[in-house]
């Protein structure tokens, strides 16, 4: 009899196995191997979902240090893991066709998928840290191998920001266990041995720094636009980059349960920062003339919403934040890929080319629909997320909710302006006719859109998955 507790472990390491296999197999089998491995990973995710989540698997990894190998996929983490697996599959589908000699890229995508799934499944702080850093390596390599001219600066910036945060987190992790007196780093044990008093606030700040960089939260966001701008035109590294936004998840799963008093204490400041991030980046996005930078700032704006939801510690808002976190990956990822398709056709990422719609109607149509999802038009998954966040945040701090709410208007403005100047307007003189979507490109843009619409109309399955997890996490606050 097979023990379902092992399923998350298999799901985490299967992509890594795939990425090693790619290096072994002959070149012409690489696409198939990568596709197969990622599809099986996604299938495993569905199996776990069907079984109602996996139990907690906990093994002693380094007994002498109290480090355990604890993994579990259920609730929010399962939802995020499945979206990760799905978008990795889509990215592989696209990379196999778009990138010449894609072996390295496919291996990196799979390696990164392992890191991301590990982040979502980890229930031990050191294990979480290990996966947190592991996901960094493939993304750096993608940037180094496939990036553009100024990638080194972007790379150093990205790595320096990320590591600055995560090393402070490491010190906090050591502190959480040592000052609380927990026997291991497993979340279960740590929750029973909370640190109290001012030490908790300091440790929370260390933890928060890492998460705020990853989220990213103003003022620790400066790496993000460069990271996206300098990445490969196809947008595949960007898809993995958007999946990278584990900050919100980390705050939710680890920070709230471990630092309940500090979360409450710092709530007003952090909510303010989050609302400011959302509004500020939407404003910046409005001025961008590079699609990738625009999308980067749009993503940043969404993450401001996520942060607002998480920091408000209100049940509705937190559910909304997690919902947004999960589904934002779908449509933002797909938008990055659509930008890659536009670049492939016209050789430019400029937002003011004009007239694309005449040649590539389907591409334009699907892109527009994805933008609707992104700016939270009702009927798409993003709406449910953003609306819940605002609804919940309003109960905590009406003014901040109002300020953040303005973002939705700004979002519509920047998204529709950029779309209009790229796809409508007059075709430039001498512009060649561009090819419309072919073959798998339909799936690559269509599938995420279908899912975003499905969960926008029928949200019950996802909400049922997330609600108990959110409730149990917020119970740590003592009824709030």
């Amino acid at each position: 009899m097979f023990d379902p507790q092992w399923l998350p472990t298999i799901m985490i390491f299967l992509p890594l196995l795939g990425s090693l296999l790619i290096l072994l197999f002959p070149d012409r089998w690489r696409d198939e191997v990568a596709g197969f491995m990622s599809a099986v990973t996604l299938g495993l995710g569905l199996m776990i979902w069907y079984a109602g989540g996996s139990g907690l698997l906990s093994l002693n990894w380094i007994p002498a240090l109290g480090i355990t190998y604890s993994v579990e996929l259920s609730g929010v983490s399962l939802a995020l893991a499945m979206v990760t697996a799905f978008m990795s599959f889509i990215a592989i589908l696209y990379a196999a066709r778009r990138i010449p000699n894609p072996g390295t890229m496919l291996a990196l995508i799979l390696a990164m998928e392992t890191g991301l799934l590990g982040i979502f499944a980890a229930r031990d702080l050191i294990l979480f840290y290990v996966f947190f850093e592991d996901a960094l390596l493939p993304s750096l390599l993608m940037l180094a191998i496939y990036g553009k001219a100024h990638r080194m600066r972007a790379l150093v910036k990205f790595a320096a920001y990320t590591l600055f945060g995560s090393l402070l987190m490491l010190v906090s992790i050591i502190g959480v266990r040592y000052l609380g007196g927990s026997p291991t780093f497993a979340l279960v044990d740590l929750k029973q041995n909370l640190v109290t008093g001012p030490a908790q606030t300091w440790l929370y700040l260390g933890f928060l720094t890492a998460m705020a960089v990853k989220l990213p939260l103003w003022p620790l966001h400066a790496w993000l636009p460069d990271f996206h701008e300098q990445n490969h035109d196809s947008g595949i590294p960007d898809v993995m980059g958007t999946l990278y936004k584990v900050g919100g998840y980390g705050l939710f799963t680890f920070a709230i349960p471990l630092f309940p008093d500090a979360s409450l204490e710092l709530r007003p400041i952090l909510m303010g920062l989050a609302a400011f991030t959302a509004l500020y980046s939407a404003w910046i996005a409005f001025g961008q003339q590079d699609w990738k930078r625009l999308l980067a700032y749009a993503g940043l704006s969404h993450m401001g919403f996520v942060a607002l939801g998480v920091f408000s510690l209100n049940e509705t808002a937190v559910i909304g934040a997690m919902y947004l976190l999960a589904f934002q990956n779908l449509y933002t990822g797909a938008l990055f890929l659509s930008v890659g398709m536009v670049q492939e056709r016209i050789g430019s990422l400029d937002t003011r080319v004009g007239g694309l719609m005449t040649g590539a109607g389907a591409l334009g149509g699907l892109t527009m629909a994805l933008w609707f999802a992104s700016i939270a038009v009702p009927g798409f998954a993003g709406f449910i997320g953003e609306f819940s966040v605002l609804l919940g945040a309003y109960q905590v701090s009406p003014w901040l909710a109002f300020a953040a709410g303005i973002t939705t208007i700004a979002a519509a403005a920047y998204a529709l302006t950029a779309f209009q100047t790229t796809f409508w307007q007059a075709r430039p003189l001498g512009g060649v006719m561009v090819r419309d979507l072919i073959h798998t490109e339909w799936l690559i843009l269509g599938l995420p859109l279908v899912i975003a619409i499905f969960f926008g109309v029928y949200s019950a399955p996802a909400l049922n998955l997330m609600q108990p997890a959110v409730k149990s996490v917020l119970a740590a606050l003592g009824g709030n």
């Binding site: 380094i62 390599l141 010190v171």
Partner: protein, 487 residues
């Protein structure tokens, strides 16, 4: 009339050292008749035998010369680390010694004498044995650094000698002070006297503090602790790369082992040194890491990275002997493996003894894929990225310092690590960037022994990173480190 007492001489605990010494003597004598490569092979065998005899001493708790030589578990663990570094040096020297123009028997002889000294430090049970070992190690090291007949090597050797001699002098002065304060040179006896400071008269406390600070400064020269580090970058980057490998790993491991014996054992309870060490550690972390950031030569950057790692290693000394010893025991092996493998790649691929410029590493992945991947694994590990062993080394160092109350230094170490990440990642990422310019490496550097060394290092840091228990379970037992001074 005083009775003449035969000294307590037990050969078994000395065997590992004697085997290495035998290798050194053989190299000296046989050098007239056989080629250097044969000698290197003989020395590799001697090192392996020494390792085997060391393993057989595990849990033996033997000692010789009335406690002057300790073959306890701590000595075995640190001694094995020394031998791993030596093995890597010998293997790399098989391939590159002739290219570095140090291919003569004396090179092997000096190397093995230095290892003998290192092992003496590791096994030392009193300050005199430690000093003898340190001097043998240092003198051989000065010669090694000068061997290559170039201006750079001569300059680096002279610098090493002058500053090293000053360091030794300070150290000896410190030993005299400690002897003056406690009336003994034996670690255990010193620890017993110091353990209750009330035993010492107030004047003696002052002398003890002075002595331990002088010892700290003396050791500071050997491990390249700021502000005693100035010789390091010049010597490391000026010496032949094989020597660089040796000096930055084996010699440093031995010096840290000596520090662990003295400060973690004999002088644990002495006042003054810990608060000084934390300031020096902080300075090392800041200066080592920021200086490495501005290097354009890869070998020189590795030299500064060795200084920076001194800071992380010294954090272990700030922990309690039990935690800190375990952390140091793990970290030193990992440090040896990753620095050794990185230096081996440089030794194989460099065109001149200056190593290569960081910008010349662009596109290395497309020319020497295996070495490029190995080097980037080493750099990731040096930077402390999981799943490589450097991460756990760093983690253990943080933990040791944090749990002994040095929270601020853990935070400082975390912040300076960011600079470390930048200077390790730049070359690592440059290697993967496509490049169309002609290769700037030495084309025929990939030979089996070097590749084997690199493979050993990379396999070591990967396995120890994913399963740290393979080594950590040996060093974790606190009982090993609570009797550093001897029983």
């Amino acid at each position: 009339m005083p009775q003449l007492v035969a000294p307590d001489v037990a050969f078994l605990p000395m065997l590992p050292i004697l085997l290495v010494l035998a290798g050194a003597l053989l190299s000296t004598l046989l050098g007239f008749w056989v080629g250097r490569r044969t000698l290197t092979a003989i020395n590799i065998v001697a090192v392996l035998l020494s390792g085997a005899s060391m393993v057989s001493l595990w849990n033996g708790g033997l000692s010789s010369f009335a406690g002057g030589l300790q073959a306890d578990n701590a000595a075995v663990l640190l001694g094995l680390t020394v031998l791993v570094g030596t093995l890597m040096t010998l293997l790399v020297s098989l391939d590159t010694a002739w290219r570095e123009r140090v291919s003569f028997p004396e090179f092997d002889a000096m190397l093995m004498y230095a290892v003998t000294g290192c092992l003496l430090i590791v096994f030392s049970g009193d300050l005199i044995v430690m000093l003898i070992g340190l001097e043998i190690m240092s003198l051989a090291g000065y010669v090694l650094a000068t061997f290559q007949g170039s201006r750079r090597a001569e300059e680096s050797g002279l610098k090493y000698f002058l500053l090293g001699a000053v360091g030794s002098a300070i150290l000896i002065y410190g030993i005299a002070f400690v002897y003056g304060a406690t009336g003994s040179l034996n670690y255990a006896a010193i620890a017993a006297r110091v353990g209750s400071v009330s035993n010492l008269t107030p004047e003696n406390v002052g002398i003890l503090v002075g002595g331990s600070l002088l010892l700290l400064a003396g050791f500071g020269f050997k491990i390249a602790l700021v502000p005693f580090h100035q010789w390091t970058p010049d010597v490391y980057s000026g010496a032949p790369t094989t020597t660089f490998l040796f000096l930055s790993t084996v010699v440093k491991v031995a010096a840290f082992a000596g520090m662990l014996r003295v400060f973690g054992g004999a002088l644990t309870d002495a006042p003054g040194w810990a608060s000084t060490l934390q300031i020096l550690t902080a300075a090392t972390l800041i200066i080592g890491n920021t200086a490495a950031l501005f290097q354009t030569n890869f070998k020189r950057m590795l030299a500064y990275s060795a200084v920076a790692h001194t800071g992380f290693l010294a954090m272990c000394l700030l922990g309690t002997p039990e935690l800190g010893g375990a952390a140091l025991g793990y970290y030193l092996l990992v440090y040896t493996l990753m620095t050794g493998a990185a230096a081996a790649v440089v030794a194989a691929l460099q065109r001149t003894e200056a190593g290569f410029e960081i910008n010349d590493m662009r596109g290395l992945y497309y020319r020497h894929p295996g070495y490029a991947i190995a080097l980037s694994v080493c750099l990731a590990s040096l930077a402390g990225l999981p799943p490589f062993a450097g991460f756990f080394g760093k983690y253990l160092a943080f933990q040791a310092a944090f749990q002994n109350g040095y929270v601020w230094i853990s935070v400082l170490a975390a912040i300076t690590s960011v600079a470390a990440l930048v200077y390790y990642l730049r070359p690592a990422m440059l290697m993967f960037m496509p490049d169309r310019t002609p290769a700037r490496e030495y084309a025929h550097g990939q030979r089996f022994p070097t590749t084997f060394t690199v493979g050993l290092g990379v396999a070591g840091i990967t396995v120890l990173g994913i399963l740290p228990n393979v080594w950590y379970s040996w060093v974790a037992n606190p009982a090993i480190w609570s009797f550093l001074a001897g029983r």
